[in-house]
Symmetry: none
Subunit: 487 residues, 2 copies
């Protein structure tokens, strides 16, 4: 099964990093066939027998096998409920739908994407029918797949808490009218130079290029193909270096997680991220708490200047830091700043909830999307490319995933809080470009375990408490009050 998974991963990676478009239909078919074989194996009588036999020997199993049986059994129970032909149909549909999404986004043509998205939503609803709702809540069923135990009840509460901090902060900043100069951000930074700088930063952060590679794509992702092959992708904008550089640091966080699983887990399905939220905590930790850290840029700013001297030659470190930490409502989630980012996630969460628990129809998404942006962020997309078409997730059936982004952000703030107790010299380490102790701490507390610990076990064992939005709220309050000299 892991051979099949490896094949499907590499085929997918290839489709997203430059496979020629005329090959996509056959490729989608091939991915569909192999995914279906995988699905058949995972729901086969043979699998059932393995599980039954292994469960009999429960006491004699080592912890890795014990956890493996538990994970595989959960997967088995979910998959077993989906008829094979429908699963196959779904996989092919998602693959086609993603290709169409890419084209639709390019052309900013929602109508082109609409029939595919409608089918994806319809099939997802059908699957929820097979699985059954969770606590009488259809959307909870989806949430649980990405973050075991997560419910709308929990999310509603922490999102409300965050909103209470973020919305007034955004308003205050808006009213202040003292936004920093950001004009140099949009000056030309040649792609090849950005790429070279990225390679340097990745080396610095401890990304292992013998076990990975960096490529370009439209919607960046990191992907563990096997434990010795964890790839990063990014997207360069020559007139906004932030997407290439901070995007790469973000994906690097994901990749470091998967490059540092305990070697003992190799070859078992537990050699994987324990949840989307914990995965995202690693990427956001690197993107925000390191990539936007003053010390990080004290160490790297001169080098950045050398890669684009005309752009940065007359910019001071202080000006640079103010500019990259600007908080300003914007339309694109992956380019959003640290402060407004959670609002983007909340919008998607509310839409998904309405789509699966309420009456929202797919055809109405652009309208609802734009209205919510206007409500939460005070700005309205001018077209669907910068609106509802911006994210790949829905095209591939990933509903219930978005909340993990905000959850991961909260986890990251909690982990950072715990880390500085063990590494009080955190700021100095960043200033000296010594990221090894930071990676070692994360590996010790998070990475090594893979799926051997559940998300909240990791948080509890490391921070001494459960999910807590306060750490992130405090961090944002403190950071932006200082940056904008708010009273």
């Amino acid at each position: 099964m892991s051979a099949y998974e490896e094949a499907v991963s590499i085929m997918y990676w290839d489709m997203r990093t430059g496979a020629p478009k005329k090959g996509i239909p056959a490729r989608s078919q091939a991915v569909g066939v192999l995914s279906t074989e995988l699905f058949k194996m995972s729901t086969s009588d043979e699998m059932k027998n393995y599980l039954t036999e292994l469960q009999k020997e429960n006491d004699g199993l080592n912890p890795i096998l014990l956890k493996t049986v538990e994970e595989v059994q959960k997967e088995y129970d979910l998959s077993k409920k989906i008829p094979t032909d429908e699963y196959q149909e779904y996989v092919v549909l998602c693959s086609e739908s993603e290709a169409i999404w890419e084209e639709a986004k390019e052309k900013s043509d929602f109508d082109m994407f609409l029939p595919y998205l409608e089918k994806v939503v319809a099939m997802t609803k059908k699957f929820i029918g097979y699985w059954g709702e969770k606590d009488g809540n259809a959307y909870n069923r989806l949430l649980d797949q990405y973050e075991p135990g997560l419910t709308t009840e929990i999310i509603d509460e922490v999102f409300d808490q965050l909103k209470e901090t973020i919305v007034p902060l955004v308003k205050k900043i808006g009213a202040q009218n003292n936004q920093p100069n950001t004009s140099f951000i949009f000056e030309k930074f040649p792609k090849e130079q950005q790429k070279a700088f990225n390679y340097k930063i990745l080396e610095q952060l401890g990304y292992d290029f013998d076990a990975g590679r960096l490529d370009e794509t439209v919607h960046p992702f990191a992907m563990g193909i096997n434990t010795g092959d964890v790839r990063i992708t990014t997207r360069y904008d020559e007139h906004d270096f932030r997407s290439g550089i901070f995007g790469t640091i973000h994906e690097c966080g994901h990749a470091l997680y998967e490059q540092n699983f305990d070697k003992k887990l190799e070859g078992y399905p537990v050699a994987d991220g324990t949840s989307m939220g914990i995965h995202e905590s690693q990427s956001l930790f690197y993107e925000h708490f390191i990539g936007h850290h003053e010390g990080f840029w004290k160490y790297n700013f001169e080098s950045l200047q050398a890669y684009s001297p005309e752009q940065f030659g007359n910019v001071s470190l202080e000006e640079f830091l103010s500019a990259i930490n600007v908080a300003q409502p914007s339309l694109i989630r992956i380019e959003a700043d640290e402060l407004t980012y959670p609002l983007h996630v909340m919008i998607r969460y509310e839409i998904e909830k309405e789509l699966f628990n309420g009456d929202l129809e797919v055809k109405d998404l652009p309208q609802v999307w734009n209205d919510k942006y206007e409500e939460y962020l005070g700005i309205r997309p001018e077209n669907d490319a910068e609106g509802v078409l911006q994210d790949v997730h829905w095209s591939g059936g990933m509903f219930g995933y978005f909340p993990s982004y905000a959850l991961g952000y909260m986890y990251a703030a909690q982990l950072k809080n715990a880390m500085v107790k063990d590494l009080p010299q955190f700021d100095e380490l960043c200033e000296r470009g010594e990221f090894e102790p930071i990676l070692a701490w994360l590996t010790e507390h998070v990475h090594q375990y893979g799926k051997m610990k559940k998300p909240l076990e990791i948080i509890q064992d490391t921070t001494g408490e459960g999910l807590n939005a306060k750490h992130l709220a405090d961090y944002l309050e403190e950071k932006y009050s200082a940056l904008y000299k708010l009273s």
Copy 2:
């Protein structure tokens, strides 16, 4: 099965174009698992039943299905005779043997490679035992796998014919002592510039970038992953532009073949090259009859100069043409010129024939190899890296493949001869950079058929005769007599 083939292809392509090294062991395992599944399917009872049922309906089948059944039956009969465990042993052996060969070549240490090569030869002989000899000739069985219908009787005759032309020509040129200046060939041509020039040439020749892509590798190849995805790889040497540029044109010839199969064949196993020889006829046609053509460079030389002005600024078109068409005995097959190339193939053919039909032992290969180079080319390898270890083929069990290279060359000359009857303005088309009619002609007579016609059917239908070495001999005689002003 075609989904599995697609997966194995893309995994292999990826390993050869930049997969990180720590991921290779798991990747090799995965390729092994999927290849074995493929083998099991091809020899399964299910396959047998399909074939039996389809053969019953022979009259009702359309031509594509008829041909498909014929091809699959042949494959089935061959594979079925090999016990599965021996097939697996062979696949593992070849994979190990290739790795050892690479190391042995690097160290120029034949003894290190010897035990592996001996095992590969022994297993190949065992397989011939299972398959049975062909016309009482063991080596014919191997030849037939790459070029259906090809026998030592045919090859002996055409190779003798070629030898009669080539050997005296090489001697005459050697005696003349008027070799052209080639020094500028080895001046620096930056990789990025070579790459940009290659893209331009590929567009010109009609390579469809929406159905392919160009990447770098160590040992270049073209690969059809599906009919909408036919990739080219190349290798750049900044101090010898020939490998990058002519190598790319060569692989482009292979790729044009697979990009232009009749769309009706899509999804059937007949959407494939009909033989190695015909495949090679397409790559060599483009490499030699176009890439080394005076008209081609009349059209492209100015552009080449612009991509590397210091190197070519003071070189005239005439000097350039003389340099790229230099004929000189050399030790490495893939770097050999148009004239001496067939001699490299003949040496390998004679050795293989002796290995399988005669008494030649593997341990004696270096001695025999070196003696033959001295005899045919007048030069003797100083070590086995530039001698018997230079090619990968034998390490992977590819015996009987080499003759296709020379065969393809002869086919190409025959096709060229037929083409100029239909396109008497061939030279002018090259001079004007109009390659579309040439590609259209090849598509009409060769490409579109895939495996729907056997190699000699294509040659017969297109040229009105069977395999004929005379066209290549005449071409070489004429070309080199003119270039070297031989009496």
